[in-house]
Symmetry: C3
Subunit: 158 residues, 3 copies
C-alpha cells in the first residue's frame, strides 16, 4: 500500500507555506500520497489572486477579504517581514541560489496531484466561495481531515 502524508496548513506565512510545499513535492517524488488541508490563514495560499466577488459578502467579509493575502505571492514572512523588506530579501536570496519561489512550488504540487482540501468552516466564516479558490480545491469538513490523517503515515500541523 502507498504511504501517505497529511499536512494541515493553518499558517498563511510565506516561509511556512514554502516548507509545506517543499515537503509535499518531495513526498510525491518518493511516491507518497499527499493531502494538504488548508484551514484559516492557510486558505490564503490557495486563493486566486484576481477574483473577489464582493457583492455577496457582508461588510466584515469584504474587509477581511481585502486585508488578507490573495495567493502565494502576497503571503508575508512569519518573522522579520518588516513591511515586506525581509520577504523581498529572502526571495532575492532564493533567486541567487536558483531556488524557485513559492508560486513555482505550488504549481509543482498541483501538477503532481497533491490533494488540496479547503476547510469548510474557515471558508464559510471568511465568506470565501469555491470560485475564489484554485480549481481542484475541495471544500471539506474536519471529519474529512481526521479520516485522511488517520490513514496517513506522517501528519503535521504547519
Amino acid at each position: 500500500m502507498k504511504k501517505r502524508m497529511n499536512l494541515l496548513l493553518f499558517s498563511g506565512d510565506y516561509d511556512k507555506a514554502l516548507a509545506a510545499l517543499i515537503l509535499a513535492n518531495s513526498a510525491k517524488d518518493l511516491n507518497l500520497d499527499v493531502t494538504i488541508f488548508c484551514a484559516f490563514w492557510g486558505l490564503c495560499l490557495i486563493r486566486k489572486p484576481d477574483s473577489i466577488k464582493v457583492e455577496e459578502k457582508s461588510l466584515y467579509e469584504k474587509m477581511f477579504g481585502i486585508m488578507t493575502p490573495k495567493g502565494p505571492d502576497e503571503l508575508p514572512l512569519s518573522k522579520m517581514n518588516f513591511a515586506g523588506i525581509g520577504k523581498k530579501m529572502l526571495t532575492e536570496m532564493m533567486e541567487e541560489d536558483d531556488a524557485p519561489p513559492l508560486s513555482a512550488f505550488l504549481k509543482g504540487a498541483r501538477k503532481k496531484d497533491v490533494k488540496f482540501y479547503a476547510c469548510k468552516l474557515s471558508v464559510e466564516v471568511m465568506g470565501l466561495t469555491q470560485d475564489e479558490l484554485i480549481e481542484e480545491a475541495i471544500i471539506a469538513d474536519s471529519t474529512t481531515y481526521l479520516k485522511d490523517a488517520l490513514d496517513s503515515d506522517i501528519q503535521l500541523f504547519i
Copy 2:
C-alpha cells in the same frame, strides 16, 4: 481498539486554540480518544478567568500572570490581532455564520471527556496552581505526554 489523537497545544492564540478544539470535538464525534497537553502559552486556554492567588507568587510570576490571557475569551489572534480589532472582527464573522465562539468549543470538549493535561514544568515556571486551572486538568510531565503520544494515531503540535 479505539483510535487516539494527541494534541500538544503550545500556542495561546485564539485561532490556533479554535483549531485544536474543533479537531478535538470532531475526533470525539468519530469515537476517538483525545488528549490535549497544554504547554506554555497553551495553558492560557485552561486558566480560570477569575482566580489568581497573587499572595504566594514571586514578582515575576505576578507580572506574568497579569500580562497573559486568562481563559478562552482573552486569547488574541495569531495574526492581524490589531490590539483586539481583528479578533473582534473574526468573532463577529463567526457569529454571522452561527459558528460558536472558542468558549463553546471548550465547553463541548470538556463535556465530551477530552483529557486535558497541563505541562508540569510550564505550570511551575509560570507560577500557576491547580486551583487556577479548569478542574479536570491533570498536571503532568513530558514523559506522560510522550507515552500518550506514542499510543496515538494522530499527534500534532499546535
Copy 3:
C-alpha cells in the same frame, strides 16, 4: 525495535526550541531514537555563536546572518518578547524554579546523541556553511527528512 521521534524544528523562537529540546531529552530518557531536523529559522538554534565567515557571502547573506540569532541564547520569545524584556523575565522565572536555560537543554540533547539535521536548502539560501553549525549537524535534504519521519512513531512540526 526502538521507538523513534522526529521533530521538524522550523521555528527560531526560544520558547518553541525549549519545547523541542525538552521533548528530545525526555524521549532519549525513555530510550527513543530522536532526530531534530532544523529548517529555516530553526537553524539559528544550531548556529555557533562566534563564527561567521562573512568573506564568502553575498550582501543579502551577510545582512541575514547579522540580523538572525546566533545560537540558543540569542533566540527571542515567540510572544511578548518586548525587545528582550519578556524573554529576560521568562529566563529569570526559570532560574527561580531551578529550570535550566535553553543552552543546557541543547548540551543535554547533544550528549544524549540526539541526531541533528540541518536542512540543505535553508543552509544554502541563508548562505550558511558547515563550519557555522554545531559539529554533529548533518546537512540533509527533504528526502532524508521524509524517510526518517516515515520510520518514526511521533512526528511534530514545531
